[in-house]
Amino acid sequence: MSQHSKDVSIVVGGSAGQGVQTVEAALMKILKDAGYGVFACKEYMSRVRGGSNSVEIRVSSTRSPRRAYVRRIDFLFAMDAAAVPHLGWRIGPDTLVFAEAGQAGDVAPGRRIDTPILSFANEAGGSPLYANSVVLGVVLGILNVPFSGAESYLRRAFSRKGDDIVAKNIDAARKGYEFGKHTSFVEDIAVALSPSEDRKDDLLLDGTTALGIGAVAGGCDFISSYPMSPATGVLAFLAKEAKRFGIVVDQAEDEISAINAGLGASYAGARAMVTTSGGGFDLMQEGVSLSGIIETPIVIHIGQRPGPATGLPTRTEQGDLNLALHAGHGEFVRAIYAPGTVPEAVGVMQHAFETADRYQVPAFVLSDQYFLDSVATVDEGDLPRIPVARHISETDEGYLRYALTEDGLSSRGVPGYGKGLVCVDSDEHDENGRITESFEVRRVMMEKRWKRLEAMRESAILPSPSDNLDAAETAVVCWGSNRGAVEEALGRLGSVKLGGLHFSQVFPINPKVKKMLKGKEIVVVENNHTGQFADLLARELGVKVSRRILKSTGEPFSVEELMDELKLESKTKN
């Protein structure tokens, strides 16, 4: 017997190129259209073909959607013989393993369902290529989702290939569907997740797309970048949207060129960004420093992956907070954001552009492989929009780019707009932007560049507290991509002692946070080895972090392991 009333965790495993992602895309769309809340995350090896990869799809009701990685697998679909051993550590006594007879190997303690994927594929289409549609059908059959969704999806997906191909795919899916229904009956599988009719118009967005949409909404005019996993998707997204919005996209010869081209464009008035991962960002650091002294805005997206050096190229980590925090020689001001949900990704990207322009500083957005590759359903109305304010002024004759002001911010002119000349200099410079070696000018300019930090602190995005934080004894703090897993773990533990606090802006930290944490034990959850944010929090707010829950294996936290860790936490407090 297998009963599911909250959510179902479906995992599809196979080698690269076998179509795991095709099945994922189809299921996500069909289930979303059928009114379910869906979330998917994936893990894959650093190779184009072969290896062993998997995708987890969590199906839930839209009212209490599940948006985090769980270790638990309810239904595992093994597309090849390697999938079961690869995922064996996640197979529990309640896992049903759907695999070709003889391909599943030892699935103990799970239960094997011999599934004739290939013979269905061959019967329907005369080729193993139809296996994806078979698997799709089996899943929908088990979940008892009307088959019409699969039919219209496959019709759309294969229409360009002709009626014959469409019919064969539908046939393959139907064979799988009937098998799934039959299995559901025989195995006494009951899935009761109550889909909602009114959520069919929800959007399906992954982290990459959400950041891209945020960049478009934030008025991004220019991106120059060099491909690097897992951050390339943002470049590809903007390239795809370039014509529609008039965005200039340049594929740079290296990351050094990328950030310098971005700063050139920004100097000339464009809202410019770069996207890269830690290793590529290392090369950009001198450019970050340049942005600091010439007070020229730039938005830098770092899609984090485990380092040092090449590390684990396709895996996840939150190891580059200190890198972003300290990047570039010399001392200057910056802002750092780290979204934890799809709407936050759309929002903080706009905040990054706004902050960069308003305060004339570099602004970072930190994501990671887990976040970028995770897909969730989201209500369009939940996507924040911030008006694009250019913060650019027409210049007069005698314009001074670095005119001294009360708040340290000079009116930002750009070449070709007004009578003034716009001079910026990587050397220390006077109000006109011309080189100087005067100690006094240096003193004044350092103060000028640092004055803005106060205003940036006051306007920093406040972290999101759980409903019970006020009364809780312990605050479980996280940042960036861990939001979903921490929230779900706390929700499922249901302890009044444990509250949650998620930061989508990690620097500067709003001084009001100190009050939110007052009198509480602080536990920080981070996907890195040392607890970089815990250090930052302690330094910025003078608070004591009593415990760090850390993980740097290259995998995200699962909800279960956080529950285990935090259970311990609430017990020791009893």
């Binding site: 118009d201 959007l203 967005l205 797309t209 949409i213 909404a217 008025g219 005019d221 220019f222 120059s224 949207e241 529609r244 919005f245 008039g246 200039v248 996209v249 340049d250 740079a252 010869e253 290296d254 050094i256 060129s257 990328a258 310098n260 081209a261 700063l263 050139g264 464009a265 920004s266 100097y267 000339a268 008035g269 464009a270 809202r271 410019a272 001198e286 450019g287 340049l290 010439i294 369009e380 996507l383 694009v388 250019r390 650019i392 750009v414 070449p415 070709g416 707009y417 007004g418 009578k419 000349l421 716009v422 001079c423 910026v424 200099d425 990587s426 050397d427 932007g433 011309r434 080189i435």
Partner: protein, 282 residues
């Protein structure tokens, strides 16, 4: 005071006799004769004595990082193609530190001009060999003389099909001015390698030496003949001055990217396009 002149009394950090002085005059004259207004001209530079040039020209200035004037200049041009954009630095900056950018901007072909002050030595860091230093030149890092081959910028430029390749010598200001004017007017990426001696650290490649080792491009040279240009580029004993190569048939990067005359900072995010985009994710 004429256009592009800095106010009287502006402190100039170059040594007396530096080849950058005549080049400063040549550049300002070239810009004036082309009828440019300071408000439409941006000079981007890197680091080094040559890279201080925009400090002494009354125009827009982007004095950025060592070796990175080319990507910055390109970014400026792509953000506002109405601007006249010049990247200017020395041989160490453009051919050494930023060599990769030179190669790859050649492939893109934006309408910018790169002026390289070539003095065959490092000035600001005090006398080390530069990419164009002659073999055997004694210097603080190679006390027995340079043991690597010099970089041939003209040969590289022609081989990369940089569509305008010129060479000038500040010892011949009239010729230098004409080449620079033609480079700035050229529609596409243009590069001029300009001999501008360092009188402090390079005692072998002097004004006199450059005079004795250069000659005008032959009258019958056809700059559109790439093979002929390459042959001239290999003449390193008597280096040809003038327009060595010109290819008017290359498309501009700006045009290929669909960039219009509206500066990017005037662009607005279309709400209907935004809704249309989101609809694709339903």
């Amino acid at each position: 005071m004429k256009p592009f002149d800095m106010p009287e009394g502006t402190d100039i950090a170059w040594c007396p006799g530096c080849g950058n002085y005549p080049l400063l005059t040549i550049l300002k004259n070239a810009l004036r004769e082309l009828g440019k207004d300071p408000e439409e001209v941006v000079i981007a530079s890197g680091i080094g004595q040559a890279a201080k040039m925009p400090q002494y020209v009354d125009a827009h200035m982007f004095n950025g990082l060592h070796g990175r004037s080319i990507p910055a200049a390109m970014g400026i041009k792509l953000a506002n193609r109405n601007l006249t954009v010049i990247a200017e630095s020395g041989d160490g900056d453009i051919y050494g530190e930023g060599g990769n950018h030179l190669l790859h901007v050649a492939r893109r072909n934006p309408d910018i001009t790169v002026l390289v002050h070539n003095n065959m030595v490092y000035g600001l860091t005090k006398g080390q060999a530069s990419p164009t230093s002659e073999e055997g030149m004694k210097n603080p890092i190679q006390p027995d003389g340079v043991v690597v081959e010099p970089f041939n910028p003209i040969a590289v430029a022609v081989s990369m099909d940089i569509p305008f390749v010129g060479r000038a010598n500040v010892g011949d200001p009239a010729q230098a001015k004409e080449v620079i004017k033609e480079a700035i007017s050229f529609r596409g990426f243009s590069m001029v390698d300009i001999f501008a001696p360092c009188v402090v650290f390079n005692r072998q490649n002097t004004y006199q030496w450059f005079k004795e080792h250069t000659r005008p491009v032959p009258d019958d040279h056809d700059p559109s003949d790439r093979v002929a240009a390459f042959r001239l580029a290999l003449e390193t004993d008597m280096m040809p001055l003038g327009v060595l190569y010109r290819n008017d048939s290359r498309e501009l990067y700006e045009d290929r990217l669909g960039i219009t005359g509206t500066p990017l900072h005037e662009r607005e995010v279309s709400e209907s396009a935004f809704s249309e985009m989101l609809a694709g994710y339903r």
